[in-house]
Symmetry: C2
Subunit: 470 residues, 2 copies
């Protein structure tokens, strides 16, 4: 494969996109067409496309092709931060536990109690209520099946089928949310003292689990756009063999990064070569702002190396306490661990939820929610750019519900946490997302709620407090 | 203290009870009165009472006195079985997992689908439904407090206050059932490879947990009436130091044994002396057939050595998936483990349940249930005595929902499991309840359901199959 030939195509396509010849969301010509037009081999064309995908100029939709991603050249993305070369044991200070429990709500302010109730929750409650009135004596006397209600598992299988992922109902096990699923995955893959690789910045819920299970963590630098740096992972595991790697390929919290499909494939290859498991946190998987839903990492793994974890907490309701796990090679072990950790899940909730999904209510709601989150992201980004664009850098995620902010290097976001809390504002400082105390001048900012005047005012107060010594 | 003096009082009271001078449920004279009447010291009188309590002729109600227990001299109780002197790793065969998942329903037959719905479940569902309609958006966006809803914790505190146990709401943490609570207690007290003491026979759910966590188990012979043999525990932990001891002081499954208060105190003393934790499974605590509710082990421990675990699954509904844990010295650690294992519980279920308890519905229902279970126990015992009294021995528990059967020594209850399952009957073989393969000729039999003609026929078929080679 000639370096020059693929580079020429890469430059050509990049120009076409940047000059608007291909619009955002538009499909690029097929690989076959590009081969013919440019007289290139298939491998060369794919190499060029992978380069553009890694730069987030385009994104792949399996079995469909490549599409033009939203251009994000008019703002500053936070820099990838170098990470220490050795593992650490996690040690979460008590203050952080307080912040973590507040930050799980993903909002700088408590919600307005007067908000009108969304119709989808009324429907969902009605279906769960109906299920709970059906043979309540039976439900009171019998636990559900060990893997959870088969009808709900089939409904989840259908959701994944729409994301190019082939699963069977028996490949899945219902859990009490994604945290429970991640816990089971760590219990199944690791023993105390083992080392686990994580994206840096990392989801703090995973860091807490690694702490409590006595696991060591090696942080892998992650790009706010494309996620885990695979080369760094490959280098570090030479020195520090790992048992598992936790990743959120689709719309990672805090950065919102999306792992390109080519990186997904490379990660699975690495896992097979070095005999570790990949624990995929897919909790934001349904919350894509692309025209097409993004397939999970699980979709590119045939060997059962990927343990897929998900939940309805972020895309529907935290109140359900329903998640799932597809454990691949370790599935039987994981089902046993589910049984010993909590035996069963409520049957009526599973029945009502299965009905809600199979009647199409879930798809309708989640499509609305994706649109709403995308608009709220745009509101937030516009606000940041207009008022603090000179001082802060921020990611512009194409899914999920938060973006990642980098402030001037002398600012310590954690220092302002208490003062802001007294004013009723919850700041989520960057240090929460590292086992090594990185990200002192970073923070997570959520767009899960509309940017009302109340939130806009809170945002101004937040940045005035943070930047006051500028 | 003279041996003869306490023995004389013990013999005197034993005769008075056996000749009917004191009736079942009647209060004995107070310690002070007995001292005066018999001209004995307080210590001597208490010694005599403890002997009678250990023999289950009387039972203690703290701050009230001693009451005459039901006499059970007219039937054969299963013998206490000697246990191996060394610990073992648990290794649950796959067939057992199948049996365990079926036996969790505590019934030899599936329930009759046509059973009319109990009013208490309609009330409970109504209250949960009402709570779920209150601010559903809030519930969808926010998790509950780390320890669970404070109102529900306060309601559980009130239930324990009626059982002579002083707790505060912050001493409790809500879990997803008792299995989840026991798991957290084991995670908090033990590391892989540690040794845990259990009653023998033991609850199979605990055995599964010990297996999955890689813990060693030392079985302690237990009396079908009075539970754990404290002398044997004291002897064995000299050779095999333990980190925890799991006990069900009130109405153990499978035997239905109830630990005398004097043994409870001795167990706590032993735990303090030898630096181990006692994990109390109180899931049957509310299901006492005595006139008074029985206090938990927790009530006699001031040092925080007892980790109290309970649930509404057996006394109200398995569908709720709501339990609790009071972790004593380890409570903060346990709350962290709860958060990493599953983050949160549904708020509406907790709110509805708190309302159900505070309106008095729970007490009313559980009192009915206790009466109902007592009658069902009597039906079952009468049936056993009438038809198989010559061949089998059985415990007669004063609470809970199952009794323990000893069959002739050449019978292997596990061998008939598959044949009976093909006939639609679920046999719970004794081997499930041991890590060392004990109890081949034992089985658990539940009285959780009324002895209908269908169940009576199933019972006959079961024993005919088991005893056919007699």
């Amino acid at each position: 494969m000639s370096v020059f030939r693929y580079e020429a195509l890469e430059v050509f396509l990049r120009q076409q996109i940047q000059t608007g010849r291909y619009k955002v969301g538009e499909k690029l010509p097929s690989v076959r067409t590009l081969c013919q037009q440019h007289e290139l081999s298939k491998a060369t064309v794919i190499h060029a496309l992978h380069k553009l995908e890694a730069d987030q100029l385009i994104y792949a939709v399996p079995k469909s092709g490549y599409f033009v991603a939203e251009v994000s050249s008019d703002y500053n993305t936070p820099q990838k931060v170098p990470t220490p070369s050795i593992p650490a044991q996690v040690n979460v200070p008590d203050l952080f536990r307080d912040i973590m429990s507040r930050s799980a709500a993903f909002d700088i302010l408590p919600s307005d109690r007067s908000t009108a109730t969304a119709q989808h929750l009324i429907n969902l409650n009605r279906m769960i209520g109906k299920a709970s009135r059906f043979h309540p004596e039976q439900k009171a006397h019998y636990y559900d099946e060990p893997k959870g209600l088969v009808r709900l598992r089939s409904a989840i299988v259908d959701l994944y089928r729409q994301r190019e992922t082939s699963l069977a109902a028996e490949d899945l096990c219902i859990t009490s949310g994604c945290q429970h699923a991640l816990f089971l995955a760590l219990m199944a893959t690791c023993q105390k003292g083992d080392t686990v690789a994580i994206e840096s910045p990392a989801f703090y819920g995973a860091l807490q689990q690694l702490e409590q299970l006595g696991l060591h963590v090696i942080e892998i630098s992650s790009d706010p756009n494309t996620g885990l740096d695979l080369q760094e992972l490959a280098d570090k595991i030479q020195d520090w063999p790992i048992k598992a790697c936790i990743v959120t390929p689709n719309f990672h919290t805090p950065t919102g990064s999306k792992m390109p499909v080519s990186n997904m494939k490379a990660l699975v290859k690495l896992a097979n070569q070095h005999d570790f498991y990949v624990i995929e946190d897919d909790i934001y998987g349904e919350l894509s702002f692309h025209n097409e839903l993004c397939p999970p990492l699980k979709s590119v793994c045939r060997e059962g190396r990927v343990i897929l974890c998900g939940s309805f907490s972020k895309c529907l309701s935290r109140e359900l306490r329903i998640g799932w796990i597809a454990g691949g090679l370790l599935h039987d072990k994981i089902v046993q661990l589910k049984l010993i950790t909590q035996l069963a899940n409520p049957q009526a909730v599973q029945e009502g939820l299965a009905e809600f999904i199979s009647q199409g209510h879930f798809k309708r709601y989640v499509n609305q929610r994706r649109q709403q989150l995308k608009e709220q992201r745009d509101q937030l980004i516009a606000e940041l750019r207009q008022h603090w664009g000179a001082h802060i850098k921020f990611s512009k995620p194409n899914g999920g519900m938060s973006c990642w902010l980098e402030l001037p290097s002398h600012i310590d976001t954690q220092q302002s946490y208490k003062a802001l809390l007294e004013k009723g504002i919850v700041l989520t400082p960057g240090v929460l997302f590292s086992a090594h105390g990185l990200y002192k001048n970073h923070m997570r900012l959520s767009f899960s709620q509309p940017l009302t005047e109340r939130r806009r005012a809170a945002l101004h107060l937040l940045f005035q407090t943070l930047l006051k010594d500028q």
